[in-house]
């Protein structure tokens, strides 16, 4: 399980996270909702280990291991996956090569055997099929010339192939039409099980119609100000952040 305690983090000396405490038990999906600037993306970057963020206090552990002490690639091998809000384009890097390199790097770090090209293609094609995606996806350069929806679907494909134990979805719904949203949600739901947990970061409630969370947390001003069941998301949708934040204050 993911356990965050009193997490403080800053960028360039500016505090963004001001004491987040949160626990996501294995098998559960939690949503973090919050207005712009509340620290949602910062939380996902701090947990995945991006440079430029300084943790000034608090801890974050995953199954008892100190996440914050690990390199980003070690966190990935330990089972963490960040679905980016803005997936990065990699001109000159083929998607198949990228996915296989990532999968094998993780397997190597975990002391597992690597997949050869044939084994990998078989796995990738099976996952593509489940996600109703074309094999062409593998031949293209990573995210280059992809539409917003294709980029997000490519994130879900990576997640399906890498099989994380903990997924952080950073506003994966932004810029998606309803069909793409469903594909993304189906991808996440397919992974749900006793050994999988997810933290779904979103601004809007609509993704949570498709990925129904066990718990919803409201992030504001760098802190969790309210937690509740899925009904909290509906309340936010109906009353807006202002109303909920007022009640919390």
């Amino acid at each position: 399980m993911l356990k965050i305690e009193n997490l403080h983090a800053e960028i360039d000396g500016k505090p963004i996270l001001k004491g987040i405490s949160l626990a996501v038990p294995s098998g559960e999906v939690h949503a973090i909702m919050g207005p712009n600037g509340s620290g949602k993306s910062t939380l996902s970057y701090v947990l995945s280990g991006r440079d430029g963020y300084t943790v000034t206090a608090g801890t974050a552990t995953f199954n008892g291991i100190d996440l914050l002490a690990m390199e980003p690639e070690e966190r990935a091998a330990a089972g963490l996956f960040l679905a980016f809000q803005y997936p990065v384009e990699l001109p000159g890097v083929g998607n198949a090569n990228f996915l296989r390199t990532a999968l094998n790097a993780q397997r190597r770090l975990r002391g597992e055997s690597e997949l050869d090209a044939v084994q990998f293609l078989k796995l990738a094609r099976a996952e593509l099929k489940k996600l109703s995606m074309s094999d062409e996806m593998l031949k293209r350069n990573v995210n280059v010339g992809f539409s917003g929806g294709e980029k997000k679907r490519n994130e879900v494909l990576q997640m399906a192939i890498l099989r994380p134990k903990l997924a952080l979805l950073d506003e994966t719904d932004s810029g998606l039409d309803i069909d793409a949203l469903k594909i993304v949600a189906d991808g996440v739901n397919a992974l749900r099980g006793p050994d999988f947990s997810a933290l779904v970061i979103t601004h809007y409630q609509r993704l949570l119609d498709h990925i129904v969370p066990d718990k919803v947390h409201v992030l504001a001003g760098g802190r969790i100000v309210r937690s509740g069941g899925p009904e909290l998301a509906l309340k936010l949708e109906a009353e807006g952040y202002a109303g909920v934040l007022e009640q919390a204050a």
Partner: protein
């Protein structure tokens, strides 16, 4: 070894050819180039002048490790050791230096003319596809200098692919000149793999004449040498000719490599293409000078030139000098240059997927090179280049 040292040696040489005398007169007047010469503004030959060289001798023993560095390509090969043709190591080629062209405009080519050693002399008959040939230079070191003079001529409609590879041990000066003539409708693919010893000096001067509808398609991968310069003079003398001078330079430590091109569009409807990529680590320095001359009558010229550098260290340096001289009014010529570092966002994306930092950096560097490597369409040669890049990366993880 300065100009006087070379000339003293030349004057002591018994009965040099007339061509050599003509070149020596020019070299006596010019001396070795300095950074005051516009064509050598960014490349200082001082490290060369600070060392003594003795003339290479034929018959040197070739260590197994050097032979093993020649690419395993299923093709005949012509092997030169310290500039001397070695029939015992070759499966192809005749050599001949009787009809040498006197080169006096470029001091290093003049020096080559003075001491010219019989090189590859290949004539591909008309409408013949001669397949692939490996032209290999092995330097055994020991402070020698050698000056091979190679010549490749393609008759009308002929085709040939040459993988031109240079390896070596120790300290030496490899000062080669290659004369190329591509006749009407002929097609020469010339891939250079310069993987000289880290203490070696490598100068290649290439003169290519391309006739009507002919193509000179070249790619150079520079990995080795303490100091290197590849200088290509390509002349498009007939309509609808094409010249591709693509290159990649991967440098580390205190290496210096210079890629200088002069493309003369002397006929209409010709195209020239140059994509040059530099990956620079340590305190290395890359130079690209690209001149495109479009003569008065060369209408509909299509020239493109792009030089890009990836600096992997704050102490690396790239110097880029594009030069366009256009005397025709209906032409399309473009050039550009970019300098950058690895992108943090891309690097984090790869690492967040579990790819360790060194591997992630290697992937991004490879991606940067891909556009240039993609210009090599000969698959087995492309594989040789990919392998050389991978090995370079293992030697110089950055």
């Amino acid at each position: 070894m300065n100009a006087t040292d070379f000339l003293t040696r030349f004057d002591a040489t018994a009965s040099p050819a007339d061509t050599a005398h003509a070149a020596a007169d020019a070299f006596r007047a010019s001396g070795l180039p300095t950074m005051r010469d516009e064509a050598w503004r960014f490349t200082n030959l001082r490290p060369l002048t600070e060392r003594d060289f003795t003339p290479a001798q034929p018959g040197a023993d070739v260590p197994a490790d050097l032979l093993a560095r020649l690419p395993a390509l299923d093709a005949p090969r012509a092997v030169f050791v310290d500039g001397f043709f070695r029939a015992d190591l070759s499966t192809a080629a005749n050599t001949d230096v009787s009809a040498i062209t006197v080169r006096t405009s470029e001091p290093l080519a003049a020096l080559n003319t003075m001491f010219a050693q019989p090189g590859l002399a290949l004539d591909v008959p008309a409408d013949t596809n001669a397949g692939t040939l490996v032209l290999a230079s092995i330097a055994t070191g020991n402070g020698t200098d050698f000056h091979p003079r190679h010549r490749i001529r393609l008759a009308p409609g002929a085709r040939l692919t040459v993988l031109d590879v240079s390896v070596g041990n120790g300290t030496y000066l490899h000062n080669a000149v290659l004369e190329i003539a591509v006749a009407e409708d002929a097609h020469l693919t010339h891939v250079r793999l310069q993987d000289e010893a880290p203490t070696g000096f490598h100068i290649s001067t290439i003169y290519a004449d391309i006739a009507e509808r002919g193509t000179y398609d070249s790619f150079g991968l520079t990995l080795g040498a303490r100091l290197a310069r590849a200088e290509v003079h390509a002349r498009l003398g007939g309509a609808h000719g094409a010249v591709h001078l693509n290159a990649a330079q991967l440098l580390a430590g205190t290496q210096h490599a210079d890629f200088t091109t002069i493309v003369s569009h002397d006929a209409p409807h010709c195209a020239s293409r140059q994509t040059v990529k530099n990956v620079l680590t340590g305190r290395s320095r890359g130079v690209f000078q690209g001149k495109i001359e479009v003569a008065r009558g060369a209408q509909k010229t299509d020239g493109y030139q792009m030089n890009q550098a990836l600096l992997l260290s704050p102490d690396a340096e790239i110097d880029s000098k594009p030069q366009l001289e256009i005397y025709a009014d209906d032409v399309k010529c473009s050039h550009g240059a970019t300098v950058g570092e690895l992108d943090d966002g891309q690097l984090f994306y790869l690492r967040s997927r579990g790819i360790p930092q060194p591997e992630a950096r290697a992937m991004l560097v490879h991606a940067f090179l891909t556009e240039a490597l993609d210009t090599v369409s000969h698959e087995p040669i492309r594989a040789v280049l990919e392998e050389a890049v991978a090995q370079w990366w293992q030697r110089h993880p950055a």
